[in-house]
């Protein structure tokens, strides 16, 4: 099977890092560029992190830097969840001169034309870069086979009562994406991401794998951060938040849906994004009952096969060079 050409747009981010490592390991994609955007932490970190991830994953594609702020409404960051540098304080050296001088909006469009309709975009941060691309090149959707995002929430949010972080960071950007006319817009929302997780037993097993591969330091930092965050909350609070009974990772879950859509329940809906209300800012609204009489504009993941996700995660982790030390 030929490799699927893919642009990754990301604000790494511990779980972004897992997603990129998983996709690189899958061998299913021809990753054409990694585009950094503001989000979990500021662009000054996400571009460095993106570069480090590219090198760690052994990719040769360019890394570009895009928007440093939301289109319109600036929001606070999520350093509390990802550590000050976005990768839970992992220390590393990269040469930032290696960051491409080309902007994501031009790279994405040029790649889209080059691949003649086969290119896919996987966006797991705020959608500012994609929205700018669409504003600058409104015909982009004609050349995109599938646009997949981690974002939105059908019920509970993690940024206010209903807002999901990526979307709440730049709801206007999602609005632009929703009305852009993508042929296929797959939305892996918070609710569905929370159906894919590693059980405590699986996580413990992975944490203790004697690995010597480039992923390991990243993996360990992420695992440690997850364990530490877990201690900050009672099980009751976690349950109220809607957290899974184990170790989640939204971007990793959405990467799994990108690679293996057959393992997710996908349904088409008409989706809107609220940008006027303060209380509901960035809420994704799905017209479950067809009240707006509009054609569906997203394919929403409703649930993910947890066992398949866990098995894939383990397989991908094994696949890095070095593998398990015997």
């Amino acid at each position: 099977m030929s490799l699927r050409p893919l642009i990754i747009d990301t604000d790494p981010g511990g779980d972004d890092a897992q997603a990129i490592m998983l996709l690189a390991a899958s061998g299913m994609f021809n990753i054409r560029a990694i585009c950094a955007v503001h989000g979990n932490v500021g662009l000054e970190y996400t571009r460095r992190n993106a570069l480090y991830l590219k090198e760690t994953a052994g990719l040769t594609c360019p890394v570009c830097q895009g928007a440093s702020e939301a289109l319109i409404a600036r929001q606070p960051r999520a350093a509390y969840a990802h550590g000050n540098n976005g990768l839970s304080g992992l220390e590393f050296e990269v040469n930032e001169d290696k960051i491409s001088r080309k902007h994501p909006w031009d790279v994405i469009y040029d790649e889209a034309l080059h691949w003649g309709g086969e290119l896919e975009i996987f966006a797991i941060g705020p959608l500012t870069n994609i929205a700018i691309t669409l504003l600058r090149h409104p015909d982009l959707p004609n050349y995109i086979k599938q646009f997949t995002i981690m974002g939105g929430a059908a019920t509970k949010g993690n940024s206010g009562a209903y807002g999901e972080f990526n979307i709440a960071q730049d709801p206007h950007a999602l609005k632009i994406c929703l009305s852009a006319g993508f042929k296929k817009f797959v939305m892996v929302d918070l609710d569905s991401c929370r159906t894919a997780f590693l059980t405590d037993e699986e996580a413990e097993y992975l944490d203790n794998l004697p690995m010597s591969n480039p992923w390991k330091p990243l993996y360990d930092k992420f695992a440690m951060a997850q364990r530490e965050r877990r201690l900050l909350m009672t099980e009751e609070q976690r349950q109220k938040m809607g957290f899974p009974k184990g170790r989640g990772g939204c971007d990793a879950a959405s990467a799994f849906v990108l690679a293996h859509p057959e393992s997710a329940v996908l349904e088409d809906y008409f989706c809107l994004c609220e940008t006027r209300s303060t209380l509901n800012f960035g809420q994704t609204i799905f017209d479950w009952r067809g009240r707006f009489r509009e054609k569906p504009n997203v394919t929403l993941a409703r649930s993910i096969d947890r066992d398949a996700y866990a098995a894939w995660y383990l397989e991908m982790l094994h696949s890095y060079d070095g593998g398990i030390e015997s």
């Binding site: 019920t155 509970k156 009562a161 209903y162 809107l272 609220e274 809420q283 609204i285 009240r291």
Partner: protein
């Protein structure tokens, strides 16, 4: 006699409202002090007529007063054109109002807000308000009689949804009919139990349950059986996989009778009145991130026990027949 909870039932009566009234009237632990009507499922004139006739059927002798014709900031709707007619039938009682006797009782001279004030003043105990329609009357009562707020024990209402809606994706019909009134009520500081769609959509009346209405309910049960027929059809068109139509408005009454039947959680609820798509959303923060809880929100209910309460009420009302 054991303690009976004094309530004022505020309603845009409607098919499920009629079930709620049956449940309240037929349960010895509830003391209905009075009924106030409001626009919503139908015009307030029709709703008032319905309330009087259902009272006659249930042999319920309590004052009935007419309330708001329209929302605080909206226009009066023309219900002859309104699509809402189709959920509860053109007469608001599933097209079966003609089967009910002319009421002996007359509507009160005063309006709903003044009746609430009068009943609250007269009551020895603090009163629970049970609104199951738009919250216009309740908001007006709170605005006009602030000194009586301390005499209100709490508000057990049907309305809103933590997640989703029915009128619009994020708006439940009662709140959508008067979002500003709902905002006033939710920020009043009174104890609120919000029975929204999260729980009320589980309050389904199955086919077997409907048969039981006739079996145990005598003439009252037979009327309810007939009244709900068209409501079933609408419900099936809405969602064919559903066990039956939802008795939304009975849920706050059931909670009053037995709080174990309705599972609630303390939440912070604020009504959105500005959103482009989220207007009338009861924004429910289960974590109470930035605010203290101001409402107990219903998320689940025990359907079997819930239905049984209705059948028990029917039996009780038929005890002398």
């Amino acid at each position: 006699m054991s303690y009976r909870i004094p309530i004022i039932f505020d309603t845009d009566i409607g098919v499920d409202d009629a079930f709620a009234l049956l449940l309240a009237a037929g349960n010895p632990s509830i003391d209905i002090l009075g009924i106030t009507t409001v626009f919503g499922n139908n015009s307030v004139d029709n709703c008032t007529e319905n309330a009087l006739r259902v009272c006659e059927l249930l042999d319920l002798d309590v004052p009935v007063a007419k309330g708001a014709r329209k929302s605080l900031f909206g226009e009066e709707k023309d219900y002859t054109l309104h699509k809402n007619n189709f959920v509860h039938g053109e007469d608001g009682l599933g097209g079966k109002r003609y089967m009910l006797k002319d009421p002996r009782k007359k509507v009160e001279d005063c309006d709903a807000v003044d009746l609430i004030a009068r009943l609250v003043r007269r009551s020895d105990e603090k009163v629970v308000l049970v609104p199951v329609g738009p919250l216009t009357n309740i908001a007006m009562f709170l605005l006009t009689y602030p000194e009586l707020k301390s005499q209100i024990d709490g508000i057990a209402l049907m309305g809103g949804a933590a997640y989703g809606g029915n009128y619009l994706p994020l708006a439940e019909a009662n709140i959508a009919n008067d979002p500003e009134a709902a905002k006033i009520v939710f920020q009043s500081g009174l104890k609120i139990v919000m029975c929204g769609l999260d729980a009320t959509e589980k309050a389904m009346l199955s086919k077997d349950d409907r048969e039981m209405l006739r079996v145990v309910g005598g003439s009252i049960g037979t009327f309810y059986y007939d009244m709900v027929k068209d409501y079933v059809t609408v419900s099936e068109r809405f969602d064919p996989n559903r066990l039956g139509p939802c008795l939304h408005d009975s849920v706050p009454v059931a909670w009053l009778i037995n709080p174990d039947i309705v599972k609630t959680e303390p939440c912070h609820v604020e009504v959105d009145i500005v959103g482009q798509y989220s207007k009338a959303c009861t924004v429910t923060d289960v974590l109470c991130r930035d605010n203290k809880p101001n409402a107990m929100v219903a998320f689940d209910l025990n359907r079997e026990e819930f239905i049984k309460l209705h059948l028990d009420a029917l039996k009780w009302l038929n005890r002398n027949q």
